[in-house]
Structure formats: structure tokens, C-alpha cells
Amino acid sequence: MGDPKEITTLQATTILISTIIGVGVLPLPLFAVRAGETSAPFVTLTGMFLAAIGLVFITSLGIRHPQKTIITYSQDIIGKWLGRIFSILVIIFFLILTSLTAREFGAVVVTGVLRETPLEVTVIVMLLLASISCRNNINVFAYIHNLYVPMILAPVLIVVAFSLKNANPLYLRPIFFGSDLWNMAGGMLTVAALFQGSFIITMIIPSMKSPKKAIKASFWGILISGGLYLLIVIATVAIFGPEEIKQIFWPTLELARTTAIPGNILQRLDIIFLAVWVLAVFTTLFSSYFFTIHSIKELFRLKDHKVLSYFILPCVFFLAMAPQNILHMYEIIQFIGRIGLLITILYPAVLLLMDFLKSWRRKRNVAKSS
């Protein structure tokens, strides 16, 4: 039941892309505009750079320990018990992230498409899909992501391209510092939190054919997903303007609603966009769910993760239903997202620093003794 090393660099890239692009696509322009007004694209760009820095830390650690994930090499670097405590924090964070993803999906579906369906049912269906899919090994996980990436990217790019004909570039000025710096820094953290799924690379590297190429996969993964996020924000702000966006809960969905394919072939693209968005949410949920159970498996040194896929389902569902309403849910998402940056950026940074110091000391001792 061990995982063979078969994941290619391309597959690792597609896993990153489809994991990062998820529920956050819909409220992203709102988060960016609240923080930066007309500088929303700049806020998105800085958030993307912050996320890229975190991804470089975690990928570098993975390359230095190609047989292990953060759950196992953290115990080598900072000690068995401290490593375990931080691993538990990582697991809890991803458990909450999974539940919030499912809840956000349910909220959008119940509000926009299936108005008569209970919220609980949409959340359970998505969680069941993820838990059943997670029972496969990591290669099947990679195939599923590989299959869905073109279906996620192409329609979003089409919506952005066709919507740009109504764009007003004046809405994007001033490009830099359209709001005060503190506000923009907060927005940068919120946007960076949307890239937290990229942490999955720590689980992918041990199964890659050539782990050294993980940095290449990370670069392309964050560039493509971040580029798509940036395009969405530019298109949304250029069409609606910052003041209008502040009144809309999911501006990207509104963008798809106002976009038509020329020649009256399709006069609104929101249903197509939502269908694609469901795929994007599924892949994100799938990744965070898989990461959670894979990490629990490694923490307790089990040989297989299947049993955990069903075991954590009630807990994830319970957490998903905890927010009282959509406003409360987005408050929690922003709070947890910012706290999560300590786990996805600061923790790997500290681990990498300590790992460097340890190997430097080891080399110095070897040189002294010889």
C-alpha cells in the first residue's frame, strides 16, 4: 500500500494550480478592492509574492529531505515532540481549511443555484465526494488534478477575455497605493491566504520522480494560478469599478453574469462559470482533505490512509457548519487565513533556517575532526 514514485514535474505543477484555484476565486476581487481600492491588482500581486516566498521555503525543505514530508522532517529538525506538536497544529489548520472550503462551496451553491436545497446536503455531498476520492493513492490523486486543470483554466480565461471589451482603464488608477498602506498590507495577507493550498507540495515531493525539479513545478504553479487571479481582479475592477465591487458579494460571478459571447451565442456565462467553479472547488477540497489524512497517517506511522478518510468526515462537517451565516463565515475565513500564514510561511521559514544551521554545524564538525 506504499506510494510509487511516479509523479512528474508537469503533474506536480497541475496539482499546485488546481489546488490553489478554488473557492477564493469568487470573493477575491472584493477582498482586494476592500484593501486597495483601485490598487486591487497591486494588492493581489503583493499577496502572490508573499505566497511565493512561503512556497519557496516549503519546496526548499522538501528538496533537502526528498523522502519525507513536513510531518516527518520537522521531527528530525526541531526534535520529536516539538515536531509532533507543530504537526498537530498543521493538521488542525488543514482540517479547518477543508471544512471552510466545503462551507463556502455550500453557501455559494445554495445562494446562486440550488435555492431549495438545504445547505447541509450540498456540504455533505461535496465532502463525501472528497472522502471517497481520497481513498486512492497519490498517483490517482495526481491524475485527477491533471485531468481537471484545462477544464478549470480555459473557461475562466474565456470569461476574462470576453469581459475586457467593456473595461474602463480609468477604474484601475492609481495603480499603486490607492488606499492607506496598513489596509493594503492586511489585504495582501488575505490574498496570500488564498494560496495556502500550495502547502500540498510538501506531500507531493516524496512521490516525485525527480524531487529536485519541485522548484520548477512550484514556480509554474504559482505563476499560472497567481496570473489567473491577477487577471480576474484586473477584469473585475476595470469593468465594475471599486465602489460597485464593494456592493457585490461574489464579483467574479457577477463578471461571468455580465459577459456574453459575441453573436448572441451565449448571453451570460455564469452557469458555465459555476460548473467550472464546482470542479475548482472539488480539486481544492480534495487536496486539503488528502493532505489532512495523509499527514495524520504519517504522524501516527500508519501504512495506509484509507480508514481516516471516513473517520474525519463527521468532524469536518461539524466544523463546516459552525459559522452562523455568510458574513460570519467570511470573518472566520479571513481570520483563519491570516493565522494560517504563520503555519504555511513562518513555520517552514524557521524550519529551513534551523536545517541550514544544523547542516552547517555538521559540516564544520566533520571538517574539524578530519
Binding site: E120, I124, F300, L302, K303, D304, K306, Y310, F311, M321
Partner: protein, 66 residues
């Protein structure tokens, strides 16, 4: 506090516990993974017990305390 989704949680606990006991325990037994078989047995019963525990707590709360 009223938790409207508690019934769903109870049913999910029973279903997942049952699925673990019906599928995973047997699969691990066939694969001769003793530790995993033991863990899956425990986790399956844990989920079923949580389901019954929640149902009992809900019954006591709604009939005797509210």
C-alpha cells in the same frame, strides 16, 4: 444553543463508522496489516459511539433541560 444540523452529524457518524467496520477492517485483514486493522476497528466504533453519545445528549438536553 440550538444546533439544527446535529441530526446530520449523528447520521454521518453512524454511516462512516459502519463503512469503516464493513469495508476497511476486512480490507486490512486481507492485506495482513494488523496495526491498521486494529486502528480501523477502534475508529469505526469511536464514530458509532460519538453518534449515540450525541443522540443521547440531544435527547437529555431537549427533554429535561430545555
Amino acid at each position: 444553543m440550538y444546533i439544527g444540523y446535529l441530526n446530520y452529524v449523528i447520521i454521518i457518524c453512524w454511516v462512516t463508522g459502519g463503512l469503516i467496520l464493513l469495508t476497511d477492517v476486512k480490507a486490512y485483514n486481507n492485506a495482513s496489516l494488523k496495526k491498521e486493522q486494529k486502528v480501523s476497528k477502534i475508529l469505526g466504533w469511536v464514530n458509532i459511539s460519538i453518534g449515540f453519545g450525541l443522540m443521547t445528549a440531544d435527547f437529555i438536553y431537549s427533554h429535561f433541560m430545555w
